[in-house]
């Protein structure tokens, strides 16, 4: 019994040691990316790791404002991909070099499949007769939604203002809300929702910048990831996910 326990302990120590050793031999790269980039960045991560077998990429997704705040507080990000230029400017003190715009996006209305509330356009979200959710104006998708509504002369009456676009998408996908304003790419990745186009959506283009951070331990590797995202392979993956060219 005690010999078995000793063997288990020895094995655990051995696994722990080899675990440490392999981690030391591999390079780690941490990428902070906007919630709306979840789909393409999963593929970009796999593609970059395939091209660099000794690199372990970790992508952290969240609302861009939240990620920018975390980077300012010293979060271990090597690369930051934001959903708008405003949040990249917020993180600027911790950013090295010039951010590059690598993708664009537009807004659309997400409705549960079958559009049970019969949403036809953005003005349906202004009369308060349906349950709609949008992003809070403090985060990029909310700022873009506000601009779009103002340019259409509308005041939206949402049931909730969420902290990230994935929260909006979730509330529509689960049927909690009749409609939600999200990015065009979000509708493509969530099978439980369908899109209702917004007239004049192309007047408000969201531009996604990417940059390496000042604290990146291996700035050459971080730069290589940025080059990969902005290069032909990255462009193709982003285009597949519905993002526009910069």
């Amino acid at each position: 019994m005690s010999r078995a326990a000793a063997a288990v302990a020895a094995a655990a120590v051995a696994v722990g040691l080899t675990g440490c050793a392999s981690a030391d031999a591999r390079h780690e790269l941490t990428v902070y990316a906007a919630a709306s980039l979840t789909e393409p960045f999963g593929e970009l991560e796999a593609g970059f790791e395939a091209a660099h077998p000794d690199v372990e990429v970790t992508v952290v997704h969240g609302g861009s404002s939240s990620l920018a705040a975390q980077i300012l507080e010293g979060a271990p990000a090597d690369v930051f991909a934001s959903a708008d230029e405003a949040q990249m400017r917020v993180a600027a003190p911790e950013i090295s070099g010039e951010p590059v715009v690598f993708a664009t996006n537009t807004l659309t209305i997400a409705v549960p499949r079958g559009n049970p509330a019969g949403i036809a356009g953005l003005d349906d979200l202004a009369d308060g007769s349906v349950v709609s959710v949008i992003c809070a104006p403090q985060v990029p998708c909310g700022a873009a939604t506000l601009t779009l509504a103002q340019s259409a002369g509308l005041t939206l009456r949402p049931a909730s203002q969420e902290g990230s676009v994935t929260d909006v998408l979730g509330k529509v996908a689960t049927g909690q809300a009749d409609a939600g304003v999200v990015y065009a790419t979000d509708v493509l990745r969530e099978p439980a929702v369908a899109a209702v186009d917004i007239d004049g959506a192309h007047a408000v283009i969201s531009r996604y910048p990417i940059a390496t951070t000042a604290r990146a331990e291996d700035s050459a590797l971080a730069g290589a990831f940025v080059d990969y995202v902005t290069g032909p392979h990255g462009r193709a993956l982003l285009a597949d996910a519905g993002f526009g060219a910069p």
Partner: protein, 256 residues
Amino acid sequence: MPRWMLPLALVGAALIAVPLLATLLRLDWSRAPQLLSSPAALDALSLSLRTAAAATILCVLLGVPLGYALAQWRSRLQPTVRALILAPLVLPPVVGGLALLYAFGRRGLLGESLHALGIEIAFSTAAVVVAQTFVALPFMVLAVESSVGALTGHHESLSATLGASRTTTLRHVTLPALRPALITGTVLVFARALGEFGATLTFAGSLPGVTRTLPLEIYLQRESDADAAVALAVMLVALAVTVVALAYRPLARRAP
């Protein structure tokens, strides 16, 4: 106390005190009055106070009978039911929010029937109160249950022998004996309701003046105006310290 415990005790105290003091030091005192009196802050504060007060009333109305019943119930099922009722004490609030969604949400277990009756809870102030009550109720149940369990029953029997009805006995004998537990329970329930975040965000959403309580406002402001978030945070820290000082005072006095 052995001397070697002292450094550990100091580390423990520092782990809690340092972050709270650091928040205080981060506060921009010159801007604080203006930040705390902004319309968004006042909306959130007013909503928080109203919903926490409503949740506290619900917790007293429901928690006292529930705690009483649990203390007196003799059954093999009692431990299981008790564990279920007290689960929100240790459950991550976001899980509580999901559970509420699956019960009262539009596509939830009861939500569809409620919808048919024209009652919509999700995204409303009522949803905030339900979420707060869900997470706070066990505090009241626990306070009442342990206090009822500690009663000997002699006074109640005596009261009954003298011909008092059960309700009269409850009002004039049992409740006065439970007074310290009721006060502690009420203060803790109010504080827990005031601090509710995860279940509210998941179940009720976040809309200024309707569902965006102080913790939700702090979470959002943190991203755009950190100074405003700090000012609100300091207010909640002060409130929490006051509440704990009030609620735990009787216990501290009783300790040897």
